[in-house]
Symmetry: C2
Subunit: 335 residues, 2 copies
DNA sequence: TTGAAAGCGCTAACAG
DNA sequence: CTGTTAGCGCTTTCAA
């Protein structure tokens, strides 16, 4: 039997086999045109025979810079919300012959920092981050070395870097405006933890719209820390049993939307339901709902575009890009 | 102003700054214990002052092997089906201080091959592939060099490599058995293209179960190339209008399930609906359905486990692992 | 315990 | 058009 682990052939092996110099092989491998066709053929034959494949690690080391790799750190790889973002970045990377390394911070600032530093050690060409922490000063050195960093979905802290965010406050305000226009004044709000940036923004948007209309937000109609659909359903149940129940419910994310729809539909209540974050099967919802929608893939696309622009030498001031939201109708499937 | 792109400090820079030898810095960076504490301190101070971070590209080159990177090629990064698989592999990678490069073949064998070769040039330590093509002979050389390849969800072709698959045929047969036991004999089947491995397997499972029971499959009740929910809905509509309509529908994937439920519920028909591939919001389906379910994350977990086992020196024969499926009840939300 | 020298596989610079 | 030499930043001998 042959050796357990046949060594990978190197450029030197090919050169010896084809009886040409190392540099000639390098020229052929890199498709430089200035090589005699006969020699080129000899080299190609040797390459094929030995099963040679260039070692990009060595090439990268010599040329110094580019690993042609973008690192993406999301808060939770499991979460389907990040799928279109990652897909869009991967697609943009492909188009420039880059690859994508994906990692997750699991919402832990410490893990995020460790992962970021690890990716820098691997000399990623650029980094796109859905930040978990709010202190990114530790990135300053790296950014100064010329590696672009782009924040997506949430802003970073203590670092001038591009950020691509959703207009969460604007979307929430628009939803409330629509409810107010339809005559609702008792509007319930279902929120997850206010430590999450998007929740704070959406909450703020609600408050702004209500204040503008001179309508007070009843604290009894605000649910906090609703993490699962069941949490939301329970909160809605309680609210519907109040002496003065809400006539509309605004859901801060799609999990609370599912819980709210469950309760409202079960009771055949005519409470209006508005939610954030559309999902693939929202058409299956049994009752009509309005959803604050946006183009998640666009978040990734623009983040990648920013990263590549920086790689291409754009040294303009860091900018924050706010993506618009729009109210759409979903559900009513069971009617 | 300073230079545009401050050069990254190297180990040599640190050595000079701390007035020690290169090797001493290397020892400190790699946490070798055999270094004088005083020197260690001097080195650490210099490292911090210069903002030094080891270049893993160079380290990898010298040690020859391991980039501590797993490549994952799926058929379609957009598809939520692959999200739990990717997350599970990323998680397993993390646990061993590996990273994950994700790429998509977009169901194109050519793109798959190009991507695979590219990843090998980058010297990934292992590769997990959801294959699009059926000829993976081109991988033989690489596998011989010791880079493990694991197929997931679909088998590869022409290459002895580990594969982690679902028991598609068994799941389909179990679903049909249940319908037969409930007295159904006119069972419709909704399929996407039979070029897709999972469709062929599921189709075969249906045939086996029906033959076993001596029940004929009416060609009029088999829908092919149903790609979208609307395709499936249209096919179901046609079948329900037949002189002898089906009493049950078996859906080959979740898109056809959605289309079938749409039609059946809309008509308030009492046709039984069974589907493949559970999804997050299946609890919202207005009518009760049975779904052939499985643990998608487990696919990724086992694939990663196989890859790492091979990296750890497991040279046993390639094996194909079949993951079980189970019938679960979903929906009925609107009742 | 520390250091000098060699070299991983490749590309850049410069001759021939 | 082709080859020689040097060296990317690190780890690995092997001496001191």
């Amino acid at each position: 039997m042959a050796a357990q682990q046949p060594k990978r052939p190197t450029m030197n092996d090919v050169a010896r086999d084809a009886d040409v110099s190392l540099k000639t092989v390098s020229r052929v491998v890199n498709r430089m045109t200035t090589v005699d066709p006969a020699m080129t053929d000899r080299v190609l034959v040797s390459i094929r025979r030995l099963g040679y494949r260039r070692n990009d690690v060595a090439a990268t080391l010599r040329t110094g810079t580019e690993t042609r790799t973008i690192g993406l750190i999301t808060a939770d790889l499991q979460n389907a919300f990040y799928t279109p973002i990652a897909a869009a970045i991967a697609s943009a990377a492909r188009a420039r012959d880059f690859h994508l390394i994906t990692a997750s911070s699991e919402e832990s600032p410490d893990l995020e920092k460790a992962t970021v530093l690890d990716l820098f050690q691997r000399r990623v060409s650029g980094l796109v981050i859905v930040p978990s922490g709010d202190n990114h000063r530790y990135l300053r050195t790296e950014v100064k070395m010329g590696t672009p960093v782009v924040f997506v979905d949430r802003p970073g802290g203590g670092l001038r870097a591009d950020a691509v965010l959703l207009d969460n406050a604007g979307g929430a305000a628009a939803a409330v405006d629509e409810l107010l226009a339809a005559g609702h004044t008792r509007i319930a709000v279902l929120l997850d933890s206010l430590e999450i940036y998007t929740m704070r923004e959406r909450h703020a948007g609600v408050q702004v719209a209500l204040e503008r209309a001179g309508v007070a937000l009843d604290p009894a109609l605000v649910g906090h820390r609703l993490h699962t659909p069941d949490d939301a359903a329970a909160a809605v149940a309680t609210m519907l049993d109040l002496r003065r129940p809400p006539t509309a419910v605004l859901c801060g994310n799609n999990r609370s939307l599912i819980g709210a729809v469950d309760q409202v539909w079960r009771r055949r209540s005519d409470v209006a339901v508005v939610g954030f974050d559309d999902f693939e099967t929202s058409r299956l919802l049994p009752m009509p709902v309005r959803i604050v929608n946006y183009d998640a893939a666009e978040l990734g696309r623009i983040a990648a575009e920013r990263a590549f622009a920086r790689l291409d030498g754009d040294t303009s001031a860091a900018r924050t890009i706010l993506l618009p939201t729009e109210l759409v109708s979903r559900g009513g499937f069971a009617r």
